[in-house]
């Protein structure tokens, strides 16, 4: 009878363990039936061994034996808790070392640089089901990124269940995609990874893209025949030096080149970057009395010179010409401020 009980107990444990697998492979009903049989067999075990335990009062009275069993259970529980804690810490903080010759499982230097340069926390949201084949690949990729930077976090969401996020990021039902989000609330900006297999390059590009938002600069450049805004003592003979020096100070080679390109000496076109724009040259000669004073506002505007409107309609162009100078627009905080931004720069940095 005892042997039967032991065998039943063994099978009971086995049934209970495999019920978990059945839950996923087959249906929950089968798993519940299997688990129920397992519990029944375990009860048989306890039933057959209950009599044995109660039939030995000598053992029951043995205080040392009781203490041993209690201490064993306690030690096992405490050891298990320590084991879980140690594994949890290592899983969160553990760093991997790629020992392959070509470091094929390491992130590229460009990626590491991009991760190091993150200004704000960035969150990658994988919209995919756990059954998706891309899930594991993205999980592995995100882990490598998260390991290198504390500012990079990730999570997965089921597109069938996260309806609110679907609407927010314009995701179709069942669509598998990854959204990379920077910031929170109204300042949040996001971009999505291109469709295709998970790629370190795509994710790095997305990070660079998000990281560059909010850093667009507007430069006010002097055209010819205009007064530099810097104090008179700093102006160079060409009249172009203040803008160049200011731009150089801002470490913008592009803008510096551009400022040179629009100098009266060069006849080249404006630079290809669409985040900047060239001020239109006044058709009429600027009279001295209309030229602007160097106001604190203009100096605070950061800059070098004048700023035109970006979208000069015909009417505004006419108005523009009639004033004869752009300076008033640039120095006027109420009008110039919204107009400083181009259409492109005014658009949120999302690409969706």
């Amino acid at each position: 009878m005892l042997t039967f009980g032991k065998i039943s107990g063994g099978w009971g444990v086995l049934f209970l363990i495999t019920a978990l697998i059945t839950w996923k492979i087959a249906t929950p009903t089968y798993a519940l039936v299997e688990g129920g049989i397992g519990l029944l067999l375990l009860m048989v075990y306890f039933g057959t061994h209950r009599g044995l335990a109660s039939a030995s009062p000598k053992d029951q009275a043995n205080q040392r034996a009781s203490f041993f069993w209690v201490s064993t259970v306690l030690i096992a529980v405490v050891s298990f808790a320590i084991l879980v804690a140690v594994n949890f810490i290592v899983a969160k903080k553990g760093k991997t070392v790629d020992l392959t010759n070509k470091k094929i499982y390491s992130l590229a230097p460009q990626t590491l640089q991009a991760l190091k340069g993150l200004k704000e926390p960035v969150r990658a949201i994988g919209f995919m089901e756990t059954k998706s084949f891309a899930y594991d690949a993205y999980d592995s990729l995100f882990k490598r990124f998260a390991q290198e930077s504390d500012k990079f976090t990730y999570e997965f969401k089921d597109p069938k269940k996260s309806l609110e996020d679907n609407a927010k990021y314009q995701i179709k039902e069942g669509q598998t995609t990854v959204i990379v989000v920077r910031g929170k609330g109204p300042t949040e900006s996001h971009t999505s990874l291109p469709a295709g297999p998970p790629s370190e390059q795509d994710l790095t590009n997305a990070l660079l893209k998000l990281n560059s938002t909010g850093t667009q600069k507007v430069y006010f450049l002097t055209g010819h025949a205009e007064y530099p805004i810097t104090p008179p003592g700093e102006a160079s003979p060409t009249g172009q030096a203040p803008s160049v020096s200011e731009l150089s100070r801002a470490s913008s080679k592009t803008a510096t080149r551009w400022s040179r390109s629009i100098s009266p000496r060069s006849r080249t076109r404006s630079p290809p970057t669409r985040r900047c724009w060239r001020s239109s040259t006044p058709r009429l000669p600027i009279r001295r009395e209309r030229s602007p004073p160097s106001t604190p506002t203009s100096r605070r505007a950061g800059g070098c010179c004048t700023s035109p409107t970006m979208t000069p309609s015909r009417a505004s162009s006419r108005r523009w010409r009639s004033t004869g100078s752009r300076w008033r627009r640039a120095s006027s905080p109420t009008r110039s401020t919204p107009r400083i931004r181009s259409r492109r720069s005014a658009r949120p940095p999302t690409t969706r």
Binding site: L20, N87, T96, T100, T130
Partner: protein, 267 residues
């Protein structure tokens, strides 16, 4: 510590005095060789195909066959893991069960040796046997190094090979610790070996059941799977997670075995 090594030496010598160890060694050599030859054959076929159509036209699933390390050795680990899952319980089934059956356990407990020393000694004996069986398979990377050739100069990346061996050894050590605990609970070697293999197989297969689970359960279950733990080590990435995971699992099972052995004093 001297007692521990004395017990370990005695266990190892006992292994080689019985046919079990030789049977397991022969079986491992046989399965290893068959697998090695078949994997090499597949590698050769893929290489010939790639030479005919160029690597650029082959699919990404064949890219692992570009070198001997990924194309042969890493492929062999999958087979080696399955062999270890069976070899571990077979090698450790008699560690305590045999003592119970022969009624020599009482004799062992009356010797001036502490319980923990008995457990550690027997565990080291079992682990030594696993190391011996694994070392039989070292002949394959050696053959590849001697006779293989590569454009980069080295036929094999030995760092990847050794990390793979370390991973399989960790699994072997864990399987010995688990089955020694089961062995300490029963005097039937048959019950011990079948329970051990059943538990290890469930542990091995539970990884495939995680695909449909939701987070965070999926991550938690994936963490404890054999596949999930060993994947980094087998491909050549030194990862502290499997070392800690299998290390703590071994310590836990050794602790349970120690308590089970001590419990024999009270029953």
């Amino acid at each position: 510590m001297r007692n521990v090594f004395a017990i370990a030496r005695k266990e190892l010598s006992l292994y080689f005095a019985t046919p079990w160890a030789w049977l397991v060694l022969t079986a491992m050599a046989f399965f290893g060789s068959v697998s090695f030859v078949s994997v090499m054959d597949v590698f050769r076929q893929v290489q010939e195909y790639a030479r005919a159509v160029t690597w650029a036209r082959t699919g990404p699933e064949l890219s692992q066959y570009k070198n001997l390390t990924d194309g042969v050795i890493v492929q062999l680990w999958g087979i080696q893991i399955i062999v270890t899952v069976f070899a571990g319980p077979i090698l450790s089934m008699g560690l305590f069960s045999e003592e119970y059956r022969r009624k020599t356990f009482e004799l062992l407990m009356t010797t001036p040796v502490r319980g923990i020393e008995i457990v550690l000694g027997k565990y080291l004996g079992g682990l030594g046997m696993v190391v011996t069986t694994l070392s039989v398979t070292l002949v394959y990377p050696v053959i590849l190094t001697l006779f293989g050739a590569s454009e980069s100069g080295q036929a094999l990346e030995w760092s990847t090979v050794l990390l793979g061996y370390g991973g399989v050894l960790l699994l072997g050590g864990t399987s010995v610790a688990l089955c020694m605990f089961i062995s300490s609970l029963t005097e039937s070697q048959l019950v011990s070996v079948f329970t051990g293999i059943a538990l290890l197989l469930v542990w091995l297969l539970v990884g495939s059941a995680t695909r449909g689970l939701e987070e965070p359960l999926r991550s938690a279950v994936s963490y404890v799977t054999i596949d999930g733990q060993l994947q980094n080590l087998l491909k050549g990435v030194l990862d502290p997670k499997p070392i800690v995971f299998f290390g703590t699992a071994i310590a836990f099972f050794l602790m349970l075995t120690h308590r089970a052995v001590e419990a024999k004093r009270w029953t």
